[in-house]
Symmetry: C2
């Protein structure tokens, strides 16, 4: 529970140690992004996975003592230990990208105007294989009729041990193809404390703020969570709306996220080195070239179908190669819950001022060119084209 | 079936008469858009609904003689008359917008470069209440196990009586919340011949090209339809791709469509007339004003959550009022399959050069500012901001 500062011991004192390569945006609570050098692999190592904490990391003690309570619509409660979940339900592995609603907020600030919130660059996004059980299976066991559910149930609220709360639609919670999970392992190891040990929700395709960590309670309800993270912080308003004139109820809580992409690396490559590589086979480039790498991701399980890269600030465009998943990733995914890595080799003569990237998803939605017309004062869902100066390339 | 010209009678000779207000883009086959004056109502009258025919209108004779054949994955066939469908299955009413993939293609041409295809303005989109039975119910009756379907079934192909064909994913075809229908009535009347009499498919949230008219056959298959309308015409490629260098397999067939919006009317209104109106209550405008009206729509059942209008070519933005549905529309919709009508009153002093509109859907996707970077040589899914000269306003 929440404890007023000064009345008790420092609630952050039992926060875990973090990997020193993470780029810390705030330390209490800990918010730290994955460095660009770690964004080029399909699976992010757990210790390099970005950390987004709203409060302290609760010390939940032993996983054996942790309990999850499901509160049904009639108020009845059913309680499970993590061992109960492991023992009684089929286990699934879902490989999913989580992205903070504030990813690339710093780009919106730089491209338009100041925004409220942590100034994340491109690293408030990571991907892992999550192991656990399906929420729908547990709800069915707890007494919910999945075929003819009570029509009063509209939302599934989640409450974490540190007092964070959020909700998703009940439809998503029980969607046969929604892959909403109660997760106890990450990349084949026990969930780290920063990522929700011993139990978290995974809501693939939705903004990460709904994948509540240190999960204590699931409440089936006619109402959304009343937390500030549901009712206020994670919403977008028009570019003309500011904190002094906002009506928070005018916008819905962010759930599925729009198309996003970023350039994570730019390397100068000599023609003779390129000739032996995959990229030369794809693009047939022989002259001195630049290799760009990055990620692209869309919410809602919508697959990325194309990544367009410009070497000249948007005048001409090339299609990047979308890389296949790691061969050793085995998952039960029903939709495209994970990002696509991409790369592209461009001849040096084509470069002019800025590289840009924009991705397209299977519904043919894409990203805005600039930030001004999509500015929102909270700086959420900053998905304008990612621009990187041509001069930033490192020599190979 | 298809008949070579010259060998038989003119196949277009039995095409129906059309309403004279439709704006004809081609006459053989008939392609005609809804005039802007008819785009301002939530339900489009059937005779004003845009017509998009790829070939002639087949003369299927009496509805009583028409048959629908379901071809199962093992090749077995089950046949239904329209009367069978009406008698044996629960009837649903779904209010859905259909939009041609070429809607607003003329704007892409004008905003960027020439495109192949009919040069539609803003009227290749309309909305109706469709009455029929659920495809999933009929498939279950024909022998498909909806809970554990044969894993070889990946697509549902549709074949029309005039030889048109297209397909959708089998997942969409049987999605409990997908509302895919076999339709025999439109706005409470028998389906007009131009819209598929006596039976068509309705695939809400997908590009209209999948809602096959004059439906003869549904084929469950491991493969997509092999028609040109599935494999070629209805795809988008990068702005650098042209007809001479396209690899048609590089892009997936368009199914769900991106966010779209348009301005359908601009009226100058005197302050004293505005004072008595709804708009004055919402916006409190007293001076001479301009009232803008339009539509906004997103595929995939994603609700339009905001419409931003600029009176000065994108420099400043105002939020339009999203109008409630007509009170007399009763439907069984499970998602936001229909467009939203919107309107906004703006003070005359704010106007400068161009009005612009862009909409935002519940996944917070929006529309591109310009056409150049999203140009595709087929001119599909032209959803750049709709710009209208301020000088175009009509006096009230
Ligand atoms: Mo977040
Ligand atoms: Mo179309």
């Amino acid at each position: 529970g929440k404890a007023p500062a000064g009345l008790v011991d420092d609630p952050f004192k039992s926060d875990p140690e973090r990997d020193s390569s993470l780029m810390v945006r705030s330390s209490r609570p800990c918010n730290a992004e994955t460095p660009a050098s770690e964004l080029g692999t399909f699976i992010t190592p757990a210790e390099k996975f970005y950390v987004r904490n709203h409060l302290w990391v609760p010390d939940v003690g032993d996983a054996e003592d942790h309990r999850l309570t499901i509160e049904l619509i009639d108020g009845e409660e059913v309680t499970y230990s993590v061992a109960d979940l492991r023992k009684n339900f089929r286990e699934y592995n879902i490989t999913a990208t989580l992205q903070c609603s504030g990813n690339r907020r710093a780009h919106m600030t730089a491209g338009s105007r100041p925004t409220n919130g942590l100034q994340w660059q491109i690293g408030a996004i990571s991907t892992a294989t999550w192991t656990g059980v399906r929420l729908r299976d547990v709800l069915a066991h707890a007494g919910v009729d999945l075929n003819e559910p009570d029509e009063d149930i509209k939302h599934a609220q989640f409450v974490g041990a540190e007092a964070y709360g959020a909700s998703i639609s009940f439809d998503k919670a029980i969607d046969r193809h929604g892959d909403v999970m109660l997760v106890y392992a990450m990349n084949g190891q026990a969930l780290p404390r920063d990522h929700g040990y011993p139990l978290r929700v995974l809501v693939p395709g939705h903004v990460a703020a709904r994948s509540v960590k240190w999960l204590n309670k699931v409440i089936l309800s006619g109402d959304e969570s009343t937390s500030q993270w549901q009712k206020r912080d994670y919403k977008c308003f028009g570019p003309n709306v500011a904190s002094h004139n906002v009506n928070w109820d005018d916008a819905p809580a962010i759930q599925e996220t729009p198309v996003q992409s970023a350039i994570t690396g730019v390397r100068q490559v000599k023609g003779d080195r390129l000739r032996d590589s995959d990229l030369a086979r794809v693009y047939g480039l022989e002259e001195e070239s630049v290799v760009l790498e990055g990620y692209a991701f869309a919410g809602g399980g919508r697959e990325i179908i194309r990544v367009d890269v410009s070497p000249d600030n948007g005048k001409t465009w090339w299609q990047a190669q979308l890389l296949p998943h790691d061969k050793d990733v085995h998952d039960d995914n029903q939709k495209a819950w994970a990002w696509k890595q991409w790369r592209l080799a461009l001849p040096t003569h084509a470069l002019h001022e800025h590289f840009c990237v924009k991705a397209v998803d299977e519904s043919y939605n894409s990203q805005p060119e600039q930030f001004d017309a999509f500015y929102n004062f909270r700086g959420n869902l900053a998905n304008g084209w990612h621009r990187v100066p041509v001069s930033s390339r490192s020599k190979d």
